[in-house]
Symmetry: C2
């Protein structure tokens, strides 16, 4: 049996009781460690589980999945995923491969950022499609997120923006020379995300296709959701460009508000506002009653 076990979002104790029992009795335990991270290190997990944990990087999961699935017709293999097992496409792929090999699959769900974002106080019913934001470079600024946010905002919905993480990345030079030397991990912050969003708005405006949001659009920055040090900061996109220090360490996410809002949502979210009076002013002007 292949068990896909969700670990939740915080530390080693966010696994479910059911998931922990699976991990403790499995023949092999893999940890998918490239689409997200827990807030604790591998050795803490190993100590907590009383088991060796094999780190599964992108290369292993995408190119050597048969190693992971080896003999899983006969023994139990646990594949641990931060958040919920079906948060990322890769895992659907692994299940399809297991099916083809005649291996039974059971998944053990857990908290995902896609639903835990409800902790901002925004109603999950009012969210549209989720988008991703990648680290821009001088020559690569993919803006497909912009059109999806436009679709959400056209119908009044909030947008959850998931932020890029880079783990086990090689520099171009090291890659070209075949040197397996990896850069330090990087986690995008709310400030970087807000600033990239405003950069794309400027570019789109210059092309005559802008106007999806602006510096005064309201948003919420979230850090370490579901963890013991969870933190929210709300404000305009411009204010959130400077909120990284207050938010603290990774992982960060951002929510851009839609106009389809409920009074309770504002009451809940303004508690985290950089500037409560400014929040109220923009809320009344651009959001309240704008169904």
């Amino acid at each position: 049996m292949l068990y896909l076990v969700g670990l939740g979002l915080g530390d080693e104790t966010d696994i479910t009781v059911k998931g922990l029992a699976v991990v403790r009795k499995a023949a092999r335990v893999y940890l998918e460690a490239y689409t997200s991270i827990l807030l604790v290190d591998k050795d803490i997990l190993e100590q907590y589980y009383g088991r060796e944990v094999i780190i599964a990087d992108r290369e292993m999961v995408e190119s050597a999945s048969d190693d992971i699935l080896h003999d899983a017709q006969n023994v139990d293999v646990a594949f641990l995923v931060v958040g919920d097992p079906f948060g990322a496409t890769t895992h659907t792929d692994l299940v399809l491969r297991a099916r083809a090999l005649g291996i039974h699959v059971t998944s053990i769900p857990n908290a995902s950022i896609m639903s835990a974002i409800g902790a901002t106080g925004l109603q999950l019913y009012n969210f549209g499609q989720t988008v991703s934001m990648v680290f821009f470079t001088d020559t690569w600024k993919p803006a497909s997120f912009y059109d999806r946010i436009r679709e959400n905002r056209n119908i009044g919905l909030h947008t959850l923006v998931l932020l890029d993480i880079k783990v086990k990345e090689q520099s171009l030079e090291n890659m070209a020379r075949g040197r397996k030397i990896y850069e330090a991990p990087r986690y995008m912050t709310v400030g970087q995300c807000a600033s990239q969003m405003l950069e794309i708005e400027e570019l789109k405006k210059a092309e005559g296709a802008g106007g999806v949001y602006d510096e005064e659009s309201l948003a919420i920055g979230a850090a370490r959701i579901g963890g013991r040090t969870e933190k929210f900061v709300s404000g305009t996109l411009k204010q959130l460009c400077l909120a990284d220090q207050e938010l603290g360490g990774p992982l960060h996410s951002l929510v851009l508000l839609g106009r389809r809002t409920h009074e309770l949502e504002s009451e809940y979210v303004r508690e985290f506002a950089v500037d409560k009076e400014g929040w109220d002013k923009i809320w009344k002007r651009d959001y309240e009653g704008k169904q």
Copy 2:
């Protein structure tokens, strides 16, 4: 401290290790029992926790929340919610009330249907806003879900439809006479949902405002997601009208497919199809490559 503890979607072992520790040491333990249900009874929970569990119905949470929060400035109160604590508006309200009373609040996330629906094999990125379906009566057939599905489908997105549950409801007669006699609980099935969806499509078509979906639109029925007896059936809306027997007991949910799909999604989902050849034919005709 007020702890909002997510219980996940299946049985007593779907609580997180962190959540279980909170429940075992709290001064009082409440279970919110009207927006969703676990697949096990209260006495199993009590035995597992080693604690008395107080059932909190809608009336208690909405009208007597100060009883729940009594003395939570000084002692720990655990408020258990099936799924994730922030799935329903009511709990945001409880947190606002706690804040007003100077009570600290911590939430412990868990799997929610909003993200666990990824177990269908559909990518969570391709879902639009979630809608609810209530039990129709002869005179009350609320159709606001229809316009929201239209919004989702216009931009190619899947729609998760959450199905009504009725617990502790009084008949009109008993209510009028002030008799506290309650009806047996009712849980909407995928078949009832699909049939109500098609009923509204007919009504809208007669008004000249139809065409959002039809009998041949592809959908997935899901039962007991995250539980040990989780079950999926995929097919057309017409086929799903007759899928209740195969799906089995509550809780059910339904996903209506959008056209923005990935080949992997079809491969994954067709495994559950009532009629695989029919699925492939409609997929090719109406979905494949229709970005």
